[in-house]
C-alpha cells in the first residue's frame, strides 16, 4: 500500500532523511518510533504529500508522489497534533467544508455517520472553539476519515491529551484502523503504541534502522528492541 525507496530529504544543506526504505502492506498498523528530531514528522509530511522528496520514490496506493499527488490525496487521511479545524465553525460545518473539498458524495448522510462514530453527534452544532482538546482531536479523526481513505497517517495524535482523552482516542484509532485501513503513526511514547500497532519501525539517523512485527516481539521486549535500534 505504501512503498518508499531511497528517500532523501534535504532542507538546504541539512540532510534529514538519508536514503530511507519503507514498505507497508495493506491493513498493517505501523508505529514509527524515534527520538525527537529524528525526522518522523518530516517523513510523514512527505507521505502526506505536504512536502516534496529531494530524491527517491514514494508510492501510495499505487500512485506516485509528487506527480500524482491529487490521486494520492483522495486515498489519504491525516491527523496531526494540530486539529486542522476552524474554531469559528461548528463541528458539522467543519466536516461539511472538508467534505466539499474532497467531493464526498451524499455528504449530509456521511457527516451523520462520522459524527456518530467519533461520538460527537450531540455537539454537532457547537463551535469547535468551545471543544476540549480531546474532542477536537476526535473531530480531527472524523475529518480524516470523512472521504473514506484507505491510508491513514497519524502524527503524534496524543499530544496534549490527558489520560482519559488518550484512552478514548485509542479506542477510536483502533476502530477506524480496524476497517481494513493501512495506518502509519508516529510516536515517541512506546507505552502508547504498544497495544495499537501491528508493526514497529524505528527511524533514526535518517533511515529505518530496525523493524519488528508484533507477533515476533514479546510485549515486554519493545523497550529493549527500541534501545537496540537506537544504539545501532
Amino acid at each position: 500500500m505504501i512503498a518508499v525507496t531511497k528517500l532523501v530529504k534535504r532542507f538546504g544543506l541539512k540532510t534529514v532523511l538519508r536514503g530511507l526504505d519503507f514498505e507497508v502492506q495493506e491493513g498493517e498498523f505501523v508505529a514509527l518510533l524515534g527520538p525527537n528530531g529524528a525526522g518522523k514528522t518530516t517523513f510523514l509530511r512527505i507521505l502526506a504529500s505536504l512536502s516534496q522528496p529531494t530524491l527517491g520514490e514514494v508510492r501510495i496506493a499505487g500512485y506516485r508522489l509528487p506527480s500524482q499527488a491529487s490521486a494520492v490525496r483522495h486515498n489519504l487521511g491525516v491527523v496531526s497534533h494540530l486539529p486542522l479545524l476552524y474554531g469559528d465553525l461548528t463541528a458539522e460545518e467543519n466536516l461539511r467544508f472538508y467534505g466539499r473539498l474532497y467531493g464526498v458524495q451524499e455528504l449530509s448522510q456521511r457527516i451523520d455517520e462520522v459524527l456518530e462514530l467519533v461520538g460527537l453527534s450531540s455537539r454537532r452544532r457547537d463551535l469547535v472553539r468551545t471543544f476540549s482538546r480531546g474532542m477536537q482531536q476526535r473531530l480531527a479523526i472524523g475529518r480524516a476519515i470523512l472521504h473514506d481513505p484507505n491510508v491513514l497517517l497519524f502524527d503524534e495524535p496524543h499530544t496534549g491529551l490527558d489520560q482519559d482523552a488518550c484512552d478514548m482516542l485509542d479506542r477510536l484509532l483502533r476502530k477506524v484502523a480496524g476497517q481494513g485501513r493501512t495506518v502509519v503513526m508516529t510516536s515517541h511514547d512506546l507505552a502508547r503504541v504498544e497495544d495499537l500497532a501491528s508493526r514497529f519501525d524505528v527511524l533514526s539517523r535518517g533511515v529505518i534502522s530496525a523493524s519488528a512485527n508484533r507477533s515476533k516481539l514479546g510485549k515486554s521486549n519493545l523497550l529493549d528492541f527500541y534501545r537496540q535500534a537506537l544504539a545501532g
Partner: protein, 232 residues
C-alpha cells in the same frame, strides 16, 4: 576551497583601471557644460550608477524565474547578489542625482518619476532583505525570495508608468527632449563619448562585483556545509 579564478583577478584589475580612466575622462576630456558648469560632471557617474542598478534589477528578476523553474539553490545566491548590488548602485544614483538636483532644480528631492521609482524600488529591495531575514528554512527562503523579486519586477515598471502619467521634469538625455524639463542640455560628441565610456566601465565593474558576490555566496554555503558535517 577553490582559488580565485584568474579571469576574476584580471577583471578586478581591469575594473579599477576602467574606473580611473572614466574618472579622468569626466574631468579632463569632457568639455564643461555652459549653464550648469562643474555640477554637470556628476551626470556621467549618476547615469552609470543607475545603469548598473538596472542591470542588477534585471539580473535579479531572471534569477528569480530560473530558481522557480530549476529549484537550484545556485539561483538564489545569484538573485541575492543581484539585489544587493542593485540596491547599492541605485542608492548612489539617487544620492548623486540629489546633489545634481539641488543647484539645477533648486531642491534635493523632487517627486520626479524616475527618482520616485528608484526610491520605491529601494523599498522593494529592503522588503526583500527583511523577508529573507524572517525565514529560517533555506528552501522556503529561496522560494519566497524568488516569488517576491518576480512580483517586484512586474510592479516596478508599472509604478514608473503610473507616476509618469504626471508631468515630468527629469531631463531626457537620449531621444526626444521636451523643452519642459529643466536642466536638459545638448551633448557634444565628446560628452557622448565620455558617457558611453562611463557606461561601459560600470558594466564591467558590475560584472566583476557580481562575480565576486556570487563566489562569496558559494563560499558561505561551503562554510555552512562544513559546519554541518562537523556537527554530525
Amino acid at each position: 576551497m577553490k582559488p580565485q579564478p584568474l579571469a576574476l583577478k584580471a577583471l578586478s584589475v581591469i575594473s579599477v583601471l576602467l574606473f580611473l580612466s572614466a574618472l579622468g575622462m569626466v574631468f579632463f576630456y569632457a568639455p564643461l557644460e555652459i549653464t550648469m558648469n562643474y555640477v554637470q560632471k556628476i551626470f556621467y557617474f549618476h547615469i552609470a550608477n543607475a545603469w548598473v542598478g538596472m542591470l542588477g534589477f534585471i539580473a535579479a528578476a531572471v534569477a528569480g524565474v530560473l530558481y522557480l523553474v530549476k529549484h537550484d539553490q545556485k539561483w538564489d545566491i545569484v538573485g541575492l547578489a543581484a539585489v544587493e548590488i542593485s540596491l547599492v548602485f541605485f542608492l548612489i544614483a539617487i544620492i548623486s542625482g540629489s546633489i545634481w538636483a539641488r543647484p539645477t532644480w533648486g531642491a534635493y528631492w523632487t517627486w520626479e518619476p524616475r527618482l520616485t521609482t528608484a526610491a520605491i524600488l529601494e523599498m522593494v529591495y529592503i522588503a526583500y532583505l527583511l523577508l529573507r531575514q524572517g525565514i529560517d528554512d533555506p528552501d522556503r527562503r529561496a522560494r519566497f525570495s524568488a516569488v517576491y523579486t518576480l512580483i517586484g519586477s512586474i510592479s516596478v515598471p508599472i509604478t514608473f508608468m503610473s507616476i509618469r502619467l504626471f508631468r515630468t521634469i527629469h531631463p531626457v538625455v537620449i531621444g526626444t527632449n521636451s523643452s519642459a524639463s529643466t536642466g536638459s542640455f545638448d551633448m557634444t560628441s565628446k560628452m557622448l563619448v565620455t558617457m558611453f565610456f562611463a557606461l561601459f566601465s560600470f558594466s564591467v565593474i558590475f560584472i566583476t562585483l557580481f562575480w565576486h558576490r556570487i563566489r562569496q555566496g558559494q563560499l558561505a554555503q561551503q562554510v555552512e556545509q562544513l559546519k554541518l558535517e562537523e556537527l554530525q
